[in-house]
Symmetry: C2
Subunit: 223 residues, 2 copies
């Protein structure tokens, strides 16, 4: 399937066939791709918990405002961000040339150490990139998915036994879609959300723009 | 190109052919797909600034630790997260049935209003999902990309005239790759970063696991 088709086909799905299961082998095929997602300094600030067990999915549903897709899906995958991933750098770069290690490792440490907001930003950023790969990989193999943030992060952390260095970033439910897809919901126009050169530059219409002539009819998207 | 192939082919590229340009029409084709990315409550917490102008790319490079890919790429795309996207909900749901609006709009407002950390988390999460779509869409069309966080966010915000409701989440440089790709860098093993049912559950090997028998040889990935 071409990527354009995958993007069109991917929808955030809420109703799943509760009898459909996914094998570890099928999940593994997906995650072999997910881990190829990019991350800052290749720190791979992610950890995934694939909840397939029925009793566990039931408990997870309770921590997710009772939303039935968490129970009915084939796997509810908690995508976690790893706050202290920068501490893995020595391991990640263990085979790099010595001069690369000597330059990079102190730099990475200085960049993140003690910076709690940045560690959190990074965990969410990298884990989200990986989550998107997971959803497209699933779509390309005929699975439906749905990303969710509607859950109690503390309850989920307790239930899935997260260590304090991990934060829940989202749940991606994955399974066989039950109901036909609804019409796609509203999207802001591209020319509104994509600006050229500066926020107050012309919106991207797809037509070439004369330089230095922003279209005054377009208000900045962030205004 | 199959998605598996796109994932394998996508690499974080740093060297670009400075003579290669991208047309607005080509960018538009990409962004028509990017805006189909998922976001919480479909709030589309993103705004993109595609910097194609040479003088602007040069200035942006200076705000990005002098990294040459920002100047040499065909477009340096600043992916912004929109902190106040929840305020767009009335517009986004304007065509929804009245009873949906009456339930959903106060709920969305309560969920985000006054919660600065959550607004930031959401902006980073949604913008990162969109950034991943951008990179795969580009790869599928033969463009190389590179996500970057190595820049001064304040300097970039000033230069691209961001309003205070927007935060830079990453720059995605996009262009024609100049040098041959380097070998892919180290990835943590899948069985380490993907756990079954709980963090201390068995790692995902791709083989079926007997229920309630976690493999003690596997340490939790987050430990």
């Amino acid at each position: 399937m071409e990527f354009s088709e995958i993007v069109q086909q991917r929808r955030s799905v809420k109703s799943y066939d509760p009898d459909k299961t996914i094998s570890d082998a099928e999940l593994r095929e997906l995650f072999d791709e997910v881990v190829l997602s990019p991350s800052s300094f290749n720190l791979q600030n992610w950890t995934f918990i694939a909840v397939k067990d029925s009793a566990m999915k039931k408990k997870l549903k309770e921590a997710a405002w009772g939303q039935s897709q968490v129970k009915d899906c084939s796997a509810a995958i908690l995508v976690c961000g790893k706050l202290d991933a920068y501490q893995d750098a020595p391991k990640i770069y263990k085979d790099a040339p010595k001069e690369v290690q000597e330059g990079l490792l102190p730099m990475i440490n200085n960049f993140y150490e003690g910076k709690e907001q940045l560690q959190r930003d990074e965990a969410i950023r990298s884990a989200s990139l990986a989550a998107m790969t997971l959803m497209y990989g699933a779509t390309s193999r005929g699975w439906a998915t749905g990303p969710m943030i509607g859950f109690d992060p503390e309850a989920v952390s307790r239930l899935l036994k997260l260590t304090p260095n991990l934060i829940p970033v989202m749940i991606v439910v994955l399974g066989r879609q039950k109901d036909p897809p609804r019409p796609r919901s509203y999207r802001h126009p591209v020319e509104k959300v994509v600006r050229l050169n500066t926020l107050d530059g012309p919106g991207l219409t797809g037509m070439p723009h004369p330089p230095n002539k922003p279209d005054p009819a377009h208000m900045p998207a962030g205004a």
